[in-house]
Structures are given as C-alpha cells and as structure tokens.
C-alpha cells in the first residue's frame, strides 16, 4: 500500500540557465499538464527548479511511471508531505518506514533544510528523526557509508517532504524546445530509437517513410504507423507521418544495372525527398538511425557519398552506439516488439549481394545522371506523398472505419 501523497519532479538547473529558462519551464509545464490530463484528480504547482504533483487519490505507481518518461525531467520522487514541525516530520518518516514491503537492515538520514528559519539544523534533525525511527525498529542499524536505504527529508517553508526513492527520469530537454526535424522512419529497430533520442533532446519530429507497394506490404506500412504512434506517447502531442511512394524510383535504380550502388543511390534519393519535405514543413534537420559500420551504407565512405545528397544537418543519434545498446533502448521505449515483425521494408528489398562500402562520388553522380527523369520522379514522389497525423490517445492503426460497430 502506498502512503505517498505527492510526487516531486526535478528538472535540474544545468539546462535551465539564462533566457531559455522561462521558455523551458513553460514547455515542461505543458508536458506535465498533458500527461496529468489522464489523472484528473491530480493538481500541480511549480517552485524554483521543481514541480510538485499532488495525487489527491490518483494511483501513485502509474502517475510516476508516466511522468518519468517525460523529456526534460532528471528525476522523480514519490514523497509523504508533512507539516514542517518536528513531531509531524517524525510521524511521517516513521509511517513511511512502516509502509515498506521489506524493511532495510541499515539506513541513513539525510535532512535538508531549505527553509532556514526552521528551528533545528539539518544535523540536529538527522539525529532527532533518526533516533525516532531506531526506537521503532530495534533491528535497524545506521550506516552512513553504504546504507540500504537513505531516508530523506526536505524541509521547505510550506511543508516537509519525506522520501527515499530518487527515480531517474528520461532526462534531456522538454519536448519541442529545440526546434523541429524530419525523422527517416524505416520500420526497423534503429530509426524509432533515433527518433526517441532526438525527441529527448527537445526536437519536435515529423516522420517520413518510403514504401514500394507491391514490393512491400500493407503490413510494413502498418508497422511504421504503429512505431510513429508509439513515439507520440513520449511527446504527448500529435505527429505527422509522411508516406512517400518510392516504387518508381526504386525500380529505376534497380534497372540502372549498378547493383553494388543500389543502396547508395536509394539512400541519396531518400535524403533528397526527405529534405524537400523538411523544407515544406519548416524542419531544420534530418534524423536517421544510422550507426557507424552497421551495414554497407553506414560505413564512413558510404555516409560521405550519401550525405552529400542533402544540405540540411544530418542528425545521427545512434552513430557511435552498439547494436545491443540500441536494442536495449528499443525494448525500454516499447518499439522493439513492433520493429522485429517480419515484414520487408524497401531497404531490405533489392539488397545487392555485395553492396559497395566505399562508393565513388563521381561514379554515383554519373549513374544518377543516366537514370532517366530522376529529378522528375523525385518531384512526383514528393507530390504523391500521403500524410497522416497520429495522435497519442487515438490509435490510428486500430481505426478500422465502418467496423467500429463491431467493437
């Protein structure tokens, strides 16, 4: 049974200096407000560098679970609040200790007194509260070096907060505080993780996906819709997904008879299309899920030749990460299970037997100039792009239209 009545949210002040502070704080508040909408009982207020959420009967676990995924928060703590008076603090500290599923063998008190007119010093309080706890738990011992549990008391003028958990939150910047970028979303494991990391750094995203029906299936597209949908969970705001018809370009590239350059040519065409879409939506960068050396198109040589097709900054959050680190994050953010569904996307189609790992820019440009009407096809792909908006609550993947009555 939880006895917590309030949750403290910390957004660390390193990122909060200067003129940006107000803007960041407002973004943060907006995010918290979005999330708390599903818990109507709760109330919140902010103080310097912190936010407080009063539960008012809302379940503590789910609220913490949701809040700790918000970008821009460093940590969260469920706390018991008490009157800033010795007896109330002692009583609250004791009831917190008694509520634990398994009482610790050792502990340590850490009292902080932000309200300087409180009559006892932090040191005195450590003893006054600690002794009270020890009397009630005869087995318990103090260990200031490696305590099993650190019981913290934060004395503010309006209330004292008693807690022992400091749960790490997502970190980063509040969503949308660093501008907008276009995410190339393939349906694999990497690109949703890249998207999540970009969002964590305060980027608002639109996503672009290339499909090559009949070479790819409806399911491959559904998978991408599901992944984009999942990303909106973290931003709490709708996201636009651009679905680009890529069949003609892919067929033309395959017909150019440069098998080892297929991937290079394809990736360059994708970047050119993504850049045009980014220009249209006012996005200032392209985010990809590339990781150095992972596949032929992600060697330094390949990235050099591919990257030159675009002039916007290419943001590659995963570039120096190992595959297992990426998978770990994918599992954590809930995209892994969807990503590994076995549907071909257009990157795995037409996969050459020996793709070039070190393409020559001049040769690539020559081949491109020999593909009839490549620029025209790129224009038409941009024009033919279908856009859907995914909202965090409504699951677009599950909207089956006329079939609503069945449910």
């Amino acid at each position: 049974m939880t006895i917590y009545d309030t949750i403290v949210l910390r957004y660390g002040d390193l990122t909060m200096k200067g003129r940006n502070r107000g803007r960041f704080e407002n973004r943060m508040l907006q995010q918290v407000r979005n999330v708390l909408r599903s818990f109507p009982e709760t109330a919140y207020w902010k103080t310097y560098g912190r936010l407080y959420v009063k539960l008012n009967g809302a379940p503590c676990g789910p609220v913490v679970e949701r809040l700790k995924q918000l970008f821009g928060l460093v940590s969260v703590s469920p706390v018991v609040s008490a009157k800033p008076e010795l007896e109330s603090i002692r009583a609250a500290a004791l009831s917190l200790m008694q509520s634990l599923d398994r009482p610790p063998a050792t502990f340590k008190m850490s009292v902080k007194r932000a309200w300087k007119s409180y009559p006892h010093s932090s040191q005195e309080m450590n003893h006054l509260v600690g002794a009270h706890i020890l009397r009630a738990f005869p087995e318990l011992k103090v260990d200031v070096r490696q305590p099993e549990l650190e019981l913290k008391v934060d004395i503010q003028e309006e209330a004292a907060y008693i807690f022992h958990e400091v749960i790490p939150a997502a970190g980063g910047f509040p969503f949308g505080s660093n501008g907008k970028a276009m995410l190339l979303l393939s349906g694999g494991i990497d690109s949703p993780v890249a998207g999540w990391m970009a969002m964590r750094k305060g980027l608002e995203l639109e996503a672009v996906h290339f499909h090559s029906y009949p070479f790819t299936s409806e399911q491959a597209k559904d998978k991408v819709v599901a992944l984009a949908q999942r990303l909106t969970y973290f931003s709490g705001t709708p996201m636009k997904l651009h679905l680009v018809p890529f069949t003609d370009i892919q067929t033309a590239i395959a017909q150019s008879n440069q098998e080892h350059l297929t991937i290079t040519l394809m990736r360059r065409a994708m970047l050119r299309i993504a850049e045009k879409l980014a220009d249209q939506s006012g996005a200032g960068g392209l985010v990809t899920g590339e990781s150095l050396g992972q596949v032929a198109s992600q060697t330094l040589g390949s990235m050099n030749v591919i990257g030159r097709a675009a002039s916007l900054p290419l943001l590659k959050p995963l570039i120096m990460m190992d595959k297992n680190e990426i998978i770990h994050i994918a599992e954590k953010i809930g995209t892994y299970e969807t990503s590994i569904l076995p549907y071909e996307d257009c990157c795995t189609l037409f996969l050459p037997k020996s793709p070039s790992t070190n393409p020559n820019l001049r040769v690539v440009e020559k081949v491109e100039s020999n593909i009839p009407d490549l620029d025209g096809m790129i224009e038409r792909a941009v024009e033919g792009t279908e856009r859907i908006v995914l909202s965090p609550g409504a699951d677009a993947r599950l909207q089956t239209g006329e079939e609503d009555d069945w449910f």
């Binding site: 676990g61 599923d101 398994r102 409806e218 299970e337 699951d395 599950l398 069945w406 449910f407």
Partner: protein, 382 residues
C-alpha cells in the same frame, strides 16, 4: 423460463451475436496471411487486444486470446510452471479451485511439482497469512481464484497480491472467470501476473477466453505449430469470437457497478429468505460475489430439487456445471467442512442483469413448494 444459471453460461448480447455473424462472413481470411485481407483480420485482433487492455487498465499487448477459461487456466498454470521450473518446483493454490485449475495442478504434481492446497475456513475463504506461511524459497507460482464458481465467495486476491510483491520470483495467477465484469480488479496494481477470463460468462460468445500475461512473463505453449498470440498459442485465431468477446467485455465493464449493485440487492433478498427456511442452509460467508447464492437442503438429492424448480420454469444448477455430472458430494463444500450429506445437496442460483424482484419472488415461491414436497417425503425418525 427464468434462467438463474449465469455462472454456467450467460445469454449473449444481441450486439455480440451480430458482431460474430458479420465478422465471420466478412473476415474469413487467415490473420497470418500476407495479403491485405489477412492484414485486415489481424488488425481486428489487435484492436480487440488493445480494447481489452484499455478496459482493464493494463499494459497494451498484455492479453492473449484462448478458447475459453479452461484453456486460459491450463495455459497459465502449465505454461508458467514448466517455463520457470529451473527457479523452483513449488506451487501454492487453494482447495476450492475450479476443475480447470484443480486438474492441471494434479498433472503438474505427476510431473514432479509440489502443490500446497490451502484450506478455507467455514465461510469459504482462504487466509492471506496462510499463503505467506506456505511460501518457500522454491515457490514459483501462487494460483487463487477470485470468485468461487460454486458458492460465490470472494477470495482476498488483492491482499495476497500485495503480499507477494515482496517475492519477485513467484508468479501470481488469478482465475477471474467468475469475477471479470462483475467486480473491480486492478490487475497491475494488485501485482497479478496472470489472469484468466472467459467470454461466455459475461454474455460473450463460447469458445473465446483471454489470459492476461504480465510484461516479461514467459509461458511454455500447450500447443505448438505456429507463432500466433505471441508464440504461446499456435493455431489460426478465432477472429469473430475474439472481436465479439472484446465487445462483450466492453458492455460488461460499462455500468458494471450499477448492475452489480442491482444483483447484490436481489442476492441479499434471496439470502434473507433462505435464512428463514429452517430446512435450508446457506453456504459461504461474506464477502460474496454479487450474482451468486448457494444453499443446501441437507439429505435431499439436489437433482430432485432442481427438477422441482424446473417444473415451475426456473433454471438453476447444482454444483459447478463442469463437474455436475459426477455423482459425488461437492469438493468445495467438503472443503468448507460440510458433512458429505450436506455437501451433496447444493443448489446454486446465479443472477444476470435481466432479473428483477418479481423473478426472485417466483423463485422464492418455487423453493417453498419444493421444500414442502421434499419434507413430506422424509421418513419421520423412529
């Protein structure tokens, strides 16, 4: 006819039957097929799964569709026990579980698992402290039913779940076949890892059940031969029944409180009435499910009582439908400490939302009549 056998099966909602028929005719494609028709069918299953998660406040993707409550219980118990055998081989359950828990546990015993079956007190409840006392470092699974299918007692699953939070390697299974849609259940909040439900107990279609499987809990499949349902249940999905059961669960959850309160009122009235008939004995003490009243006429064959009610157009049942053809005293009543004579004479009345005071009044008349007919047949003691 007045149908008082909702514990055995329920009259389906008309909307549910309509969904069954429409989906069956329209979406016959195999959900695993790669064409668009297959994808459309698969989408319906995922939508049903999401609906179930939202209605129960659980994580999306955590439900598996099965063929019914019996399969859900079998899959949960055998699937979990066999999967986590390397952690230990001890299982804790109760003496009053439904046959679909009772029998699989016997099978697991034959495979070398050790099963502790906790006794219930005379009111028909287990004590959470007994679960705690039975825990060993070898305990991998605790399985407790939420509402007993025969006498309607509500087991303290919330308290047990809270207690088990301190035992991270022990899984907690709840057979909620009789409680889903009748009583509130906070599956994740109470620390439940596996929870079984059945669609036809809440006015959904037969042949459709569901099993909640907490994130990261793995189960060994009972049937192999396909990767459907996250690899725990091979076989082409029953799309119409899955969609229709998602609808039935929604209808059951909407207005659950109001319906349960109404049924509780009727059950209370009936219990007061039976309490006033000296020949009859009520079984089970509070807390009781809102829709079940169980009583005995010690010494009388329950079938005779049942047939007398049926002559008056009233449908009731003896013990659990799944074991009612066995001519033995009720295992559950024996567990409560009833004499074999008393345990053989159980009658179960289970309500649905279509019942009102007038139906209970008719039932009361019929019970009185049956009692007086039976009484006149008793040999007076010499």
């Amino acid at each position: 006819m007045i149908y008082f056998d909702h514990c055995a099966s329920t009259p389906p909602y008309e909307e549910v039957a309509a969904t069954m028929a429409e989906v069956m005719l329209r979406h016959y494609a195999n959900p695993s097929s790669l064409h668009g028709e297959g994808a459309a069918a698969a989408k319906l299953i995922e939508r049903a799964r999401t609906q179930l998660a939202r209605l129960t406040g659980t994580k999306e993707g955590s439900w598996r569709f099965t063929s019914g409550g019996t399969e859900s219980n079998n899959l949960a118990l055998k699937g979990a026990a066999r999967q986590y055998r390397s952690r230990g081989s001890h299982i804790i359950s109760t003496g009053i579980e439904h046959a679909s828990v009772h029998e699989p546990l016997k099978q697991l015993e034959a495979e070398g698992f050790r099963v502790t079956r906790l006794p219930v007190g005379p009111s028909g409840h287990i004590d959470p402290d007994d679960v705690r006392a039975a825990m060993t470092k070898d305990t991998i699974l605790v399985s407790v039913m939420h509402v007993n299918n025969e006498i309607g007692t509500v087991q303290p699953v919330r308290e047990i779940g809270e207690m088990l939070k301190a035992y991270p390697k022990t899984l907690f299974h709840v057979d909620a076949v009789q409680s889903l849609g009748k009583l509130p259940i906070d599956i994740e909040g109470w620390g439940i890892d596996l929870l079984s439900g059945s669609a036809h107990k809440l006015r959904g279609p037969r042949g459709a059940g569901f099993l909640y499987v907490r994130d990261h809990v793995r189960l060994q499949p009972l049937a192999s031969g396909g990767s459907q349902e996250g690899g725990v249940r091979a076989g082409t999905e029953n799309v119409p029944a899955i969609v229709a059961s998602a609808k039935a669960v929604r209808l059951a959850m909407e207005g659950m409180e109001r319906r349960s309160a109404a049924m509780s009122g009727l059950a209370e009235r009936l219990r007061r009435f039976i309490g006033g008939v000296p020949e009859l004995r009520l079984n089970g003490g509070p807390p009781l499910a809102p829709h079940i009243v169980h009583f005995s006429y010690p010494g009388a064959k329950p079938e005779v009582f049942l047939h007398m009610l049926e002559e008056r157009g009233i449908i009731a049942s003896t013990k659990s439908a799944c074991s009612s053809k066995e001519d033995k005293p009720s295992r559950v009543l024996l567990e409560l400490g009833a004499s074999p004579e008393h345990a053989a004479g159980g009658i179960r009345i289970s309500f649905g939302e279509e019942h009102g005071e007038e139906h209970v009044a008719k039932l009361e008349e019929a019970i009185l009549e049956a009692v007086s007919r039976l009484k006149s047949l008793e040999r007076s003691p010499t």
